[in-house]
Amino acid sequence: MPDLGLDVLWKGSNLLRLLGGLGVALRISLIAVVISIPLGLLLGTLMTGKNVILKFILKLYLEFIRIMPQLVLLFMVFFGSTRMFGWQPSGELSAIIVFTLWGAAEMSDLVRGALISIPVHQYESSEALGLTKVQTYCYVVIPQTVRRLIPLSINLITRMIKTTSLILMIGVVEMIKVAQQIIEANRTTSPNAAFGIYLVIFLLYFLACWPISLLAKYLERKWR
């Protein structure tokens, strides 16, 4: 077996620091997920509504967030808010704000897509059967929409977890940054540590995202 320099993990509290970095990444992404998914559901429903002005504003918001690279958004919130308004948000708060805005925007588009994928005849049939609007949504539209949304939103959540690797640029020490610190601190004694550490990071990201995929699979089967 080639030397992967894995011994550096057992030096001092290196492994704990790496796990702590994963903790930071998960905390930020999961807080953002928890806020942005319901927000996305709400915005997505509004996007299928009839209010033209509201739809235009939401579309503008969605396109803006989608076009901007996440790194630019992070800089805009972390540094830009200080320059413009003199606010001093911490790196973590800035990251949560950006990830929430991003998550809500993408989620709203997924919700909109899932909602308009329900054929019009289903609405009409429901009306013909004498269901009220609320009943139509509760019994016919929402159950189908949620089922269609699961794989899409899982994809979004795992992407949000992985994108936390960017927040080291605004001074948040998360897993990638800790890894770079460990690799650099041992550059001369174990030059191969980069391979080992990045392999461990791969495993840790996998372990963080895999249970979410499993949950999605379970829900999909259950609600079939």
Binding site: V8, K11, G12, S13, N14, R17, I31, V34, I35, I37, P38, L39, L41, F75, F79, S81, T82, R83, F85, G86, W87, Q88, P89, L93, T100, C138, Y139, I142, P143, V146, L168, M169, I170, G171, V173, K177, V178, Q180, Q181, I182, I183, E184, A185, R187, T188, W223
Partner: protein, 297 residues
């Protein structure tokens, strides 16, 4: 029945998520108000930085350092900041009578950190350049950097004027070494490599007679690898490394300058070199690299 169950689940999710949204927005609102007060405070004084007195009053100085550039600023296995820059940062905080709060910065965001007042001073191997001087204020320097030349120990290159077009020099594309050689030695042949690793291989394979790079890099290379010697430790224009503060923060700048001058009397940076750099660069080059009391010759 199945539909009812689905409805119940959905209802529960909706309630939980609404609760979370409420929590989320209330914390948001709380932070907004604190932000607003800070904004009001900074609008009053119309400055992003903290003066020396304000730093002393708060009991903490925010210092931007590298956390992954050994041996200048890095984090050891216990999670503590270490390195040449950090050693000085700790002493600076101690002499100001405050606690050092280290902030991990990247090469690309150092200026932004100062301009938004997110750190009071940057001690992250910050090379003084004319472009940067327009954006931030540099204090007195505490280190020299220039180019260096490393070559195999059995055929040491000590003067570039001895070389001809048949003796190729190894450089990494896009570095200051490449620019310097093109400008000053247009008759020499350059072999350009994209990465550090490729340039290293090329030197080891004997593709070129010597490798020109930042002198810290070549010194580290020679001390890490048997059979190589630094024939020229300083080449070209000497740049310096200095602490930087937000433009206009005169009190802090004066404080740091005084500190560097008084540290010169006790040869502090020689001691710093002994503690942090000697294992990487060897004891022979301390006078090439260290600047005491802010005085460059």
């Amino acid at each position: 029945m199945k539909n009812l169950k689905t409805l119940a689940v959905l209802g529960l999710t909706a309630v939980v998520s609404l609760g979370l949204v409420a929590c989320g927005s209330s914390t948001q609102a709380a932070s907004d108000t604190t932000d607003a007060t800070t904004a009001a405070a900074s609008a009053e004084t119309d400055q992003v930085y903290r003066t020396l007195d304000e730093i002393k009053e708060s009991g903490e100085i925010n210092i931007g350092v590298f956390s992954d550039k050994s041996p200048f600023g890095y984090v050891d296995e216990k999670g503590d900041y270490q390195g040449y820059d950090v050693y000085f940062a700790n002493r600076l905080a101690e002499d100001l009578g405050v606690k050092a709060n280290f902030v991990s910065t990247e090469a690309a965001n150092r200026i932004e950190y100062l301009q938004t007042g997110k750190v009071d001073v940057i001690l992250a191997n910050f090379t003084v350049t004319d472009e940067r001087k327009e954006e931030v204020d540099f204090a007195l320097p505490y280190m020299n950097v220039s180019l260096g030349v490393v070559s195999p120990a059995d055929k040491v290159v000590t003067n570039l004027d001895d070389l001809t077009a048949d003796d190729p020099l190894i450089v990494i594309s896009g570095t200051t070494a490449e620019t310097y050689l093109i400008e000053n030695y247009p008759n020499l042949t350059l072999q350009k490599y994209d990465t550090y690793a490729n340039a290293k291989n090329a030197l080891e394979n004997g593709n070129g007679v010597a490798w020109v790079n930042d002198n810290t890099e070549v010194l580290a290379f020679a001390s890490e690898n048997e059979g190589y010697q630094v024939g020229i430790a300083t080449l070209g224009s000497k740049d310096t490394i200095a602490p930087a503060v937000t433009k206009g923060n005169q009190t802090l700048l004066d404080g740091i300058n005084e500190e560097i001058k008084s540290l010169g009397e006790e040869q502090f940076f020689h001691k710093d070199y002994e503690e942090t750099l000697v294992t990487t660069y060897g004891a022979d080059y301390v006078n090439e690299l260290v600047v005491e009391g802010g005085v460059t010759e």
